[in-house]
Subunit: 98 residues, 4 copies
DNA sequence: CCCGGCGTTAATGCAC
DNA sequence: GTGCATTAACGCCGGG
């Protein structure tokens, strides 16, 4: 049992009250971690919803979400690596056809 | 060409300056969409980093990230399986075992 | 309770032994379904592994998996829709820049 | 150019015919890889269809596909959570609740 | 019949 | 470099 090992010795070796305090602290720590993560994940979820809404808006304005995604992807990557990729794809394609 | 069709008629039917204004508005709209999405995705990325940091903290406190993830997943799907679903799942499970 | 409704009437209306037979048949049916799906999913999993192995082989032969994936994706789609996509992407890109 | 580097030296350093043979072998290798992957992906697609058919059958027999999926998921992750994990999850869960 | 949501699946990036 | 975890893309399914 590797995890939560911090208070194993407390439980076995110290006075009951100290062991109990250590357990309580461990529990608090765990709760804090879990709750903070859950909170942040909820915020992420909300942002994802916002993004979805924007795509819906874009769609009803006549823009194709798929193309917008491609555009954003393109903007996110270095022009150099884009060219590199295109070049390699071309090399492989020609090799296939030969 | 289905997308960006909004100003096709402008281009063909109206005076040049109106068509140009329409184009400009379309471009602004597109820019707005792209920039808002990029902004939100950046925020999402930051939140993801925060979450990662918490897991790192958890780990160095002796908690196994893997188990914490399982715990959070479990907590997330309990509210999702409200009543009906849980009941039905139970019914099916028993039927399988019988 | 909409699902597994087939034997509700049996249970309530017929003799016990018929109801029991009906239940048994329902259970068999469910088991059959579950087992067949699990079997097929296992086969899918094996195929996915085979694919992964091929990519590993490709990689150690000096081919970049990423490029091979792009190549296969390209081959899977109609040339017409590829061009369409490229054209639209170009239109949007120009609109952004204008 | 890291990929397809295997025959760079052949092309530059050897007689034309050997270089050409090497190129041909590289092309064959690539074709083989691409075709095998495409074949396996096709098989996967067929299996996915079979699965879909079974769910359709289940549905018309009065079973809810959604519940069956949940059941199968449950069965799949029980072997995965062998001993240790289940135990740890329990420990953490109790600590949270305390 | 079309639209939106859900679930699944491939793909990227990260941690070990 | 390998495997895992997360995330984006795709397709199906149910509702309006």
């Amino acid at each position: 049992m590797e995890a939560m090992q911090a208070d194993i010795e407390d439980i076995t070796g110290r006075s009951a009250s100290n062991a109990m305090k250590a357990e309580a602290r461990t529990a608090d720590r765990l709760r804090s971690i879990v709750e903070r993560v859950e909170r942040l994940e909820e915020e992420k979820r909300l942002l994802a919803n916002d993004i979805k809404d924007i795509y819906a808006e874009a769609k009803s304005a006549g823009f194709l979400p798929k193309v917008i995604r491609a555009l954003i992807r393109e903007r996110a990557q270095e022009p150099a690596e884009m060219e590199e990729m295109a070049t390699l794809l071309d090399v492989y394609r020609r090799a296939m056809d030969s």
